[in-house]
Subunit: 365 residues, 2 copies
């Protein structure tokens, strides 16, 4: 039994995957979202919790509900295909729930890749789409290599800057592995995603690394409340200095802004809005590639397996218990939580039940 | 007059771009490389020096010459298209000079992108291809978004490991900007490329950051000789710990190994050979995307310009003189060096002239 995050059972209630899914889905349906769309969003949020990425899980339900209530998220969007070829497409999300339009986009990318080797589908005019890895994982489960990127609201001070300016802009890659769960890289291009800072805020503890600066003095700060306020900004992957490669994390954030923002006709960096903003104009980029079109699909999966085994069996550093590959911790956490339930913080548990009550849905059992 | 790297004029000789190009080209021709292929390699190496990336410039000439002499690099390769569709292709480089097959690959990617919106061309069985940015830049100069990635020989200890195992595997993205030189990100996925360590070895100084570990104890080391020997390994971008995001740099290195290695039928991580190895089986990944196919090409370039201006005009951190965007330092350095010449270390200058003499080429004037 492995869980990526250490769980304090006194602070949490364990809820089964299906029960959590039911309540989240029913809340969206009660708000007017179609049954099938509600299932997509619920699956996405619950998957984040299953895999140990609670920052992107059901604790965000309130934000989504607020976004719908504020009119920043349309429940019956008119999603349009604005460009299309046999291998690519651009969708206008019409301010839909990010998950709904992103799910449509990967279905198209998968279909194009299966038919023509490659499928690239971009989205403009969308909202927060949950974990980037959800989409790369789904594509990889189809036997394809999947890439998923999204713009996100400004939380990061790029190298040389002293304000929240670029997003934590994640990059995810999923790839099928012979007889095993996919390889799954899912990373913010900042040193940490904001969710990690939120974890320390909840614990009322300083963050344990050089993760952020003051936007007033430029100094490294560790108070999570300040970091998440306008007085703080997260650092790019690589940290404050060019010496440690901070300009690379900054560059990767811009790469994501170009591919999923500028290229797709969506906005970028500091113009990107949050879930409850009116017209957040989030952009996504998805790519699916069929390894069978570029070579031999079976050999690809076998070589992926071989590469992963080699990486795990390298000479081990004494400070580490073992060598992990990307996705492995998430897969094991998912396995565990499907058996013993998903730990939900009591505060979140109560919040979900209040929302449920408010919209007339049977609360978590 | 700006140069990315501080130049000690006492240690260097300034050589004009054209003269450096001439000698490098003629050396390759003297070794039996065709005139047009020699021009491609010379342009690639000299471009690195022009842009201030000397580690990938003409100081590598000896390695290429040695590679050809050792038979690890074929001068008259039979480059084959092993897979092809209107939007993608896979080439077998037949152990060609990396630049030669990579140049062919981007020509194909550019043509496909101009015709069909997207061009993805992979290469297997190649050699070191110089700076990744060369190819992304060339694609961007055609008005397209260009991506360039390559596997490289094992120099980096991935998170949890204590040996040279994965490559410094660079990622480059170039994108056209209205009325200006392209945006050009060109980054190793390690905290630094090995070339940066070589700079300190030449100066006989310890490296100034947490760039590498001992492969015997796992501790951070700063002696460039040890770092470049089997007793040292460079760290991934993000550093030694997961706390600072080291697993993300590791993940990006694997991403590059998957896209340009496994997917293209080339090898990966610790199996990749160096320039003078027999059959190094380096793999490359190139992608060209036409912004005009996904939206409006002019608007894309205007928005790129707007985004860049915004990034540069953000509230500045007091520790930084100014805010840069990717490619800017290289462009300014290129402008300067086209005027006043490229600084070549005397040792390198002499080495080039010895090679020239050996193969009967008129030395640098």
């Amino acid at each position: 039994m492995f869980e990526k995050v250490k769980v304090d059972e006194n602070e949490c209630v364990r809820v089964s995957r299906d029960e959590l899914f039911r309540v989240v889905k029913e809340v969206f349906v009660a708000l007017g979202v179609s049954e099938s769309d509600a299932e997509i969003v619920a699956d996405n949020l619950v998957m984040a919790d299953l895999r140990g990425v609670e920052s992107h899980g059901v604790q965000r339900l309130k934000r989504y509900v607020d976004g719908i209530k504020a009119g920043g998220v349309k429940i019956n969007p008119d999603i349009k295909v604005v460009k299309e070829s046999p291998v690519f497409a651009v969708l206008d999300g019409d301010e839909a729930l990010g998950q709904v339009v992103a799910y449509k986009a990967i279905q198209m990318a998968i279909e194009k890749a299966k038919k023509n080797g490659v499928g690239i589908v971009g989205v403009r005019n969308s909202n927060h789409y949950g974990i980037a890895g959800y989409y790369a994982y789904k594509i990889a489960k189809e036997g394809l290599v999947g890439i998923s990127m999204t713009t996100s609201r400004p939380l990061v001070a790029h190298t040389g800057a002293m304000e929240k300016f670029v997003g934590t802009n994640p990059i995810s890659l999923g790839a099928p592995v012979d007889g095993e769960e996919p390889f799954l890289l899912d990373m913010a291009t900042s040193v940490v995603p904001s969710g990690k800072v939120e974890v320390y805020r909840r614990k009322n503890k300083p963050v344990p690394g050089e993760w952020a600066i003051s936007t007033e003095t430029g100094e490294i700060i560790d108070d999570p409340n300040t970091i998440l306020s306008p007085k703080g900004a997260i650092l790019p992957l690589g940290g404050l200095k060019e010496l440690s490669g901070g300009h690379k994390g900054y560059g990767l954030a811009v790469l994501v802004d170009i591919m999923s923002g500028v290229l797709m006709g969506a906005t970028w960096s500091r113009h990107v809005g949050g879930t409850s903003d009116r017209k957040s104009d989030v952009g996504h980029f998805f790519m699916a590639i069929d390894p069978g079109a570029f070579g031999d699909a079976e050999e690809f999966k076998k070589n992926m397996k071989k590469m992963i085994e080699e990486l795990k069996n390298a000479k081990k550093h004494p400070n580490f218990e073992k060598i992990w590959v990307h996705g492995e911790k998430g897969h094991l956490t998912m396995e565990t939580r499907l058996k013993i339930g998903i730990p939900i913080y009591k505060k979140v548990y109560n919040e979900i039940n209040e929302i449920a009550k408010e919209v007339g849905v049977k609360p978590l059992q």
